[in-house]
């Protein structure tokens, strides 16, 4: 494991801090820029999801010789229909969140787009575990 962060629900002011740390660490390790960008984009979305929807969460980053793996475990309402949540533009975010510029229904699709593998396990009224991997070998998927 190379990093672990606690994220508080509704803490909009600190959105991006975990992502900032992850990037810093990956840069220190000399991970290729394109990989860092994909991890950063996906991790930012995951971080914001915890802030917008959950009570609290933990974000962990693991690294081996093949991939960067990010695991986000939150305590929160859970996602009743994961497939629906994966649809572009689908969002259950309240209006005040949308006014802040979040909750446009791009979060999970963006994580999928920027990762090479993604998995969501969710239990309503308990919480959600999101995992995604970005391969270290430059993947065929286009950046961003």
């Amino acid at each position: 494991m190379i990093a672990e962060f606690e994220i508080q629900g509704q803490d909009f002011k600190r959105a991006g801090e975990a992502c900032f740390e992850i990037k810093n660490r990956l840069k220190r390790l000399g991970i290729p820029p394109g990989i860092i960008r994909r991890v950063a984009t996906a991790a930012y979305e995951a971080e914001v999801n915890v802030i917008v929807y959950a009570h609290k969460g933990t974000l962990r980053v693991n690294l081996d010789d093949r991939c960067v793996e990010v695991t986000v475990i939150d305590v929160g309402p859970g996602i009743p229909d994961v497939e629906q949540a994966m649809q572009v533009g689908y969002s259950t975010a309240p209006p005040y969140v949308k006014q802040l510029g979040y909750g446009s229904g791009m979060g999970l699709p963006n994580i999928k787009k920027n990762s090479d593998w993604m998995d969501i396990q969710s239990e309503v009224n308990r919480g959600t575990t999101l995992r995604f991997k970005v391969n270290l070998n430059e993947s065929p998927k286009k950046d961003g």
């Binding site: 991006g16 992502c19 840069k27 390790l29 950063a40 984009t41 690294l63 950046d143």
Partner: protein, 442 residues
């Protein structure tokens, strides 16, 4: 680029050791943590330095100084051509108009002085072509400020593909002038610059014929030029409008580039910390709908360059009154870039490469071990980022310790603990000692 320490274009950022008191001002403002205080003096790691000039600006002791090779003698042999950054025209007060300033350059020994207008015009055309080519990755980041380019290379390598891959207006101008001079004898090219970054960029060209022999800061020419201009003054004001403007002045003011490019909206940011914040957002994938980022590491754009003379906001006021409607427009340069040339001629052949200054180790496994050790070491530090150890933050000290550049006891908090412990041990030991030795110590 910029990896080598040295005398870039005859302009060198160096520490005047006798002035440096080892305070922590520069340490704190350096955006790439390139500075450490060791043995009571500041030191700079060249491969991390992006030439932003923040250390020069902030130093209360004027210890970070820009040394310039003597230039008066060099001009005596003749044939020197000066190319002036638009910021130059904002330094000499409301009575000095662009033609007067260009003439003053002649009087101090240049055989010719040119404004950057034509270079800006051709640069603009190349950038427009790039923006409409469909090849651009959003957000496109302006590469006109060389310190922004260096910042991306050192800290945001994933955004290299977003930088405009076009040679700088100075490089383009040098190439144009060399075409004009072809066959006409040896010419020494000088760029007259407002900042360190442009000084360094002057001798490091990325296109053929784009280099300058030397860069000269406005600051170093100022008194000589001002003396000539003063002599000219009193001849009355020039007729309004006609002499007051030259194309390209607008580029010295933040937002000028966006307007000149004909872009309706851009994300405009100046100041090195502010640019960093925006680049963070871009790296997190937040700015993919932003078409263009006009970024300057100096607050107030090039008028805020650390080698200028006049207060940047005052300079902006005076320059604003000079900017004509005819800003580097097509009609100003009807002949520019003729003979089958188009914007693509100024595209960079090879992509900009990252600089590895932030990396812990070449080997990933070793780098990971180091990262873990940093996490351990930092627990011993108080987290107050006081800078007394000579590193910019507790985290930077932890990194320096792991890299072997510093000791844990460089931290005064750690040192105090060690000393207290030592004293306690000593006290314990001395109490057990026979009274004889105790007497001896008194």
């Amino acid at each position: 680029m910029g990896e080598e320490e040295g005398n870039a274009g005859g302009v060198l950022l160096a520490l005047k050791e006798d002035r440096c008191v080892g305070c922590t001002h520069c340490l704190r403002v350096c955006p790439t943590e390139a500075i450490r205080v060791r043995g009571g003096k500041a030191q700079r790691t060249p491969h991390r330095c992006i030439d932003c000039g923040e250390c020069v600006r902030v130093c209360p002791w004027k210890a970070w100084a820009v040394e310039v090779d003597p230039w008066e003698r060099a001009l005596e042999k003749g044939g020197a051509v000066a190319v002036l950054d638009p910021a130059v025209f904002a330094q000499f007060g409301d009575r000095a108009f662009p033609p007067d300033i260009l003439r003053a350059f002649g009087e101090i020994g240049f055989s010719r002085a040119k404004d950057l207008g034509e270079g800006l015009f051709l640069y603009r055309r190349a950038v427009r072509r790039y923006l409409s080519s469909g090849r651009a990755t959003l957000p496109v980041i302006s590469s006109d400020c060389p310190a922004v380019v260096h910042l991306v290379q050192v800290k945001f390598p994933s955004l290299l593909e977003n930088l405009v891959p076009v040679a700088s207006p100075f490089e383009i101008m040098a190439r144009q002038l060399r075409k004009e001079f072809r066959g006409g004898g040896e010419q020494e090219m000088y760029s007259i610059v407002p900042c360190l970054a442009k000084a360094r960029a002057a001798t490091e060209t990325r296109i053929p014929d784009g280099a300058y022999h030397r860069a000269l800061p406005i600051l170093d020419l100022y008194s000589s030029l001002q003396a000539r201009l003063h002599r000219q003054a009193g001849k009355g004001f020039p007729e309004p409008g006609k002499r007051s403007s030259i194309p390209g002045l607008e580029w010295a003011i933040p937002g000028g580039q966006t307007r000149a490019l004909g872009l309706g909206a851009s994300l405009l940011v100046d100041g090195v910390k502010e640019v960093e914040e925006v680049l963070e957002l871009a790296e997190n994938g937040r700015l993919e709908k932003v078409p263009f980022i006009e970024a300057w590491t100096c607050r107030g754009g090039c008028l805020g360059g650390s080698l200028n003379v006049r207060n940047p906001f005052w300079a902006r006021f005076e320059l604003s009154s000079r900017i004509g409607a005819n800003d580097a427009g097509d009609r100003d340069f009807p002949g520019a870039g003729e003979a089958g040339e188009d914007g693509e001629d100024y595209f960079l052949e090879s992509p900009l490469s990252p600089r590895t200054g932030m990396r812990l180790d070449e080997n990933l496994q070793v780098a990971m071990q180091k990262l873990r050790r940093i996490d351990e070491v930092i627990k011993k530090f108080p987290g107050i980022d006081c800078g007394s150890c000579g590193s910019p933050s507790c985290l930077a000290l932890a990194e320096d310790v792991v890299q072997g550049y510093a000791l844990e006891t460089d931290c005064i908090s750690v040192l105090k603990e060690v000393k207290t412990l030592e004293a306690a041990t000593e006290k314990g030991a001395s109490e057990r000692r026979p009274p004889k030795s105790k007497k001896k110590r008194r």
